[in-house]
Structures are given as structure tokens and as C-alpha cells.
Subunit: 303 residues, 2 copies
DNA sequence: TATTCCGATAGTGAC
DNA sequence: GTCACTATCGGAATGAG
């Protein structure tokens, strides 16, 4: 899977959507921050050699919350509850996207787009709304707000285009239906005169999980394949391949939509495994599904 | 555990109970027997470098039983059913003890005494009755025969003495109550004038399993400790440390003895784990019990 | 429905 | 209640000095 990891690295460099990050990976200030008194609330990674992400960032040593504090709003208290536990890890990307130049792909007024730290497909991005009024809401609640939904949908569409372009870059050379375009690129044909290639946008899905584990609102932008060594158990797979995955297009959900029901969604996660591509069933035999997905991947990318 | 393995090797050499084995480990005939036509019913190990035991012996490739055979007695048919499957592996020790000089400790008119191939304690022997009229019976049935029981008991007692002597040899130097004897041995005191040491016979248990998996009647002669890397799961442990283990002294069982009941014995195998020495309970936490048994072993051998 | 580690549980096949 | 192998399932901790 090293190939995949390297290719995802490339994704940060291929597009014109430069992140707003402007701080270099390492600065003298970080070394100064090693003294406990200098750390205070702005946490820094204690081991510079550790690859930085929101998890290491969030879990970095910090003093216990002081007994005497300035009065807080209810909103910031809620945020405080989340901070410092894994459920709240995404807040770091939202509040400090510039700290993660390797993960953050795009920052707009409304969202931060990052690479999922544990991608479940060849391409797996997360779109994180920045609005504090929304970002701790359950997706079903947040996307009941029509205006907010419209905003996020537009950003998600842009993210999906980016994901499709990266998928084309990574897999285009394996694709039969993309061959003419691929060869034209090889001949130096300018972009505006290239023949249409495979429609990779069709292979990108956009949606939420019915029961997110990470507290902050996030929309998955994920390629169809489910080929990743990070897919390690049934729930990983079923969370993207049953109605537990709620397409962003389906929002707002009707009040009586069955997908709101906890029991129904828990059952979805425990369903028998079914190949997303050929429909073959695998019961509980996850390892067998994994081997099968490898074969399907080869055929899928060759379409 | 290499120490244990080596010490068990020693057991074949320490006592005067020479096995009846007289054939060397390897003969030219075995190589001749490699051709399929020469194998017939007397199976040979196909890979000479593999350490030989009844399992490799029994499982070695052999031709299917020929369609046309001489008429057989019912007894030999029963034996035929067992032959060639794991449940019948012990027959090789019974019929061909001379093939296993490293496993067989003693052969008498009535029994073969072997080292268990997967010992569940520091000392773990199996006493195999040679009587074809008994050796495929369930232990509860076989030991309802008073005369047979008397014979096997006498042999088992001898086997237990052998086991105790080997335990003393392996562990005597760690034992407080054995120190005087140990030091006397060191000073060259003749055996008949040695002070009494620790009573290792008390640490040897003799009995059967209520539901044996190996088809041929076998009596376990096992040291008390249960310290062995071959103890790998709960059933291994509980089969020796619940009423699933039936002391030979308890035979014949009464008709209404609860230990005859299948449901009761299956429950015994699934019981929560309890340390045989201190009575501490471990629920289902087998790994924790294993670590605890290591500590108990050190204290037990120091008694 | 975060991951990771450890370990308990279950099914299979065995020349 | 044979073993050995593979895998599934289940709980607990989760950073760092």
C-alpha cells in the first residue's frame, strides 16, 4: 500500500487549490515551546520527528484545565468537553488548518478539506464545515438547515471534482475508457482539446455516516473502490456500503426516514458483507471479502 | 521452554525401566519403503528429517485401503475405522512401541507408557493399555472391569513413581523441603542412606478425561503444576482441573455418578478459570491465568 | 459508528 | 474432550514525562 500513500501525498501538489497554510513545517519557535511554561494552551508537538496530524496535535501534553478560568459561553464549554479526547480530534484541522500542510487540501470561508488520516478507499477526503454554530451538530440536524446545506453542497461538489481529478491522475493509465485521453496527454495535446476520458466523478461518493464517531461534522468524499488496508473490519466496510452511508444529496432527511433509527443503523453495520461491485455475499467472512475486493479493484480501474 | 523439553528427553535415560524398543531410529528398510507399492499397510514417515511420533507415523501418506481385502473380524474393522484419522493416532504406540524410542518409556505385557507429545505440565505421561478387548472402550466402561482395573492401577502406580522420580530430578534443587536430601546426594551419600526429601509423589495425579478425544484408552500421569506452553486455552486447563479429570482411584464410577453426564462435563470445560493452587478466579481471562501460573510454579517448586 | 492492542472465541482441515 | 491455522469478535486504553 506504499504506492497509495505516496500517491495521496501527491494530491496536495497536483491541483491549483493551494491550501491557506503558510507556516513552514518546522520553525525555531517550536523548539522554544518545549518548555512547559511556554506551552500553555497553544499545544505543540513534543517530538518534531513525529509526523504531525490532528491526533498527535490534540494529544500533545497540555496542562490540566486550571481551576480558575475566565467565564465561558456555553458554546465554548461544549467545545472544551470535546477537546483532548479522540472524538474531538477534528477541531484541530478546523481551527488550525495551517498546522497541517500535508493533510489540508483546501480552506475556504466555510470549510476545510482534508485527507482522511485512515482512508478507506483509494481517495478518501473529509469536508469539515467551519461554522461553530453547526460543527457539533449531528449531520441530520445540521443539514436540516437549508441555507447551510446549500453552502456545504457547493463546497462538497468542488471537493468531489478535486477527488475525481486525483483519481484520474492515479488510475487513468489503467483504464480502457480513458485510453484515448491518456494517450492524448502523452502526445502533449493541450487540456482544452483533450478527448473526454473516463467519468471519474461517477466513482466518487459524497455523504455522511448516520452515527459519526468523530464529534465534528464531516462529509466523506470517497472513491467507490473500498480498497485500502485501513478497511479492517465489517463496520468499516458497512459504514460506507449500506444505508448507514447517507448521500449528501438525500438531505434534508424526512422526519420519518428510517435511516434516522438507531436500531436500523446498528443492524446495517452488522449486516452480512456484500461486494459493492458484483453483489456477491460473504456472510461474516471479512478476510475473504478483502481478497475479493483486490480482484474487483483491478477490474474496476480497468473499466 | 527449551529447558523443559530437554529435561523430558532425559527422562528416557534416568530410570532402569528400559523400553522394549530394539530397532534403531533409522534403517535402510525405511528408505526402500518410500515407493508406494512397498508401503502397503505398514506406514513409514515420508520425510526422514521430521521427528518421528505416532502422529507423523499415522498421518504419513498411504494408499487407500484396497477394495478387495481378506475377511476381517469386527474388532479389526473397528480398528480400521480409527486408523488414519487423528483420533486413532495412539494405536501406533500400542502396536509399534519400538518405533518410538524417544517417546516410549516402558512396555509391559499390559501397557505402553509414553511421554505425552503435547505435555500440559512439567511431567505428562500417558499409560496405554495394550488389550484390544479394552483399548477402544470409553474409560468409564473399561474400568468397570474390576480385573482390568486392578492390572492398570498397578501399572499406573509404577508410572507415577517414575514420574515422581523424574520430577524430583528436575525440580529437587529448587525445593526447600528437599534441600537436605539434595545436599546429601551432593556429598555422595548412597541412595539407601539418603534422608527423605520432598514427597513428589503427592504432586503427581493419575486419571482419565471424561470425554477423551483420542480413541484409544489412555490414563494421564501428570504433575500438578500445569505449567506448559502447550496449555493454550481454557479447555486444556479445565480438562485437568475440574471433575472432567477423573482420578483412576475413583473407578469404577457409580451408575449415577454425575461425572458420566455429558452436559455436566461440557459445562466443566467452559467453567471460569480457577488457579489450582491458590483458588484465585480468572473468569475467562486465560492469558492472565497463564501469567499467574508462572508465578505459582516458582513458589510450588520451592516448597 | 475514531485506532490500536490484546485476547477470547469459532471454524476448518489434517496424510 | 487432538493440534495448528486463520479469522472473527470483544473489551480497554488512548499523550507523555
Amino acid at each position: 500500500m506504499a504506492e497509495t500513500a505516496e500517491d495521496l501525498e501527491d494530491l496536495t501538489r497536483t491541483e491549483s487549490v493551494a491550501s491557506s497554510a503558510d507556516s513552514p513545517e518546522s520553525t525555531p519557535k517550536q523548539d522554544e515551546a518545549q518548555t512547559p511554561t511556554a506551552r500553555a494552551n497553544t499545544t505543540k508537538p513534543s517530538k518534531p520527528e513525529t509526523k504531525r496530524n490532528a491526533f498527535t496535535e490534540l494529544m500533545a501534553p497540555k496542562p490540566r484545565a486550571p481551576i480558575s478560568q475566565a467565564p465561558q459561553s456555553l458554546a465554548s464549554k461544549a467545545s472544551q468537553v470535546i477537546r483532548g479526547v479522540w472524538r474531538g480530534a477534528l477541531i484541530e484541522y478546523i481551527e488550525h488548518p495551517e498546522r497541517f500542510p500535508n493533510q489540508v487540501l483546501r480552506v475556504t470561508a466555510h470549510t476545510v478539506l482534508i485527507k482522511d488520516a485512515f482512508p478507506k478507499s483509494t481517495i478518501h477526503l473529509l469536508l469539515l464545515p467551519r461554522s461553530p454554530a453547526h460543527y457539533l451538530l449531528h449531520p441530520h440536524t445540521a443539514f436540516a438547515d437549508a441555507s447551510f446545506l446549500t453552502t456545504i453542497r457547493a463546497e462538497a461538489a468542488e471537493a468531489a471534482r478535486l477527488a475525481a481529478a486525483e483519481l484520474a491522475r492515479q488510475l487513468g493509465s489503467f483504464s480502457a475508457s480513458n485510453r484515448a485521453r491518456d494517450e492524448a496527454v502523452g502526445r502533449g495535446v493541450p487540456p482544452d482539446r483533450l478527448p473526454p476520458g473516463r467519468d471519474y466523478a461517477r466513482e466518487i461518493r459524497v455523504g455522511t455516516h448516520a452515527h459519526p464517531s468523530m464529534a465534528h461534522l464531516h462529509v466523506h468524499i470517497i472513491s467507490r473502490d473500498m480498497r485500502s488496508e485501513r478497511v479492517k473490519h465489517r463496520k468499516h466496510y458497512n459504514s460506507f456500503n449500506t444505508p448507514f452511508f447517507v448521500p449528501l444529496a438525500d438531505y434534508p432527511l424526512a422526519e420519518d426516514d428510517v435511516r434516522r433509527e438507531t436500531g436500523y443503523q446498528n443492524a446495517n453495520l452488522r449486516r452480512e458483507l456484500v461486494c459493492w461491485r458484483c453483489g456477491r455475499t460473504f456472510g461474516n467472512r471479512f478476510a475473504e471479502l478483502k481478497r475479493h475486493l483486490e480482484e474487483e479493484f483491478v477490474e474496476w480501474r480497468a473499466e
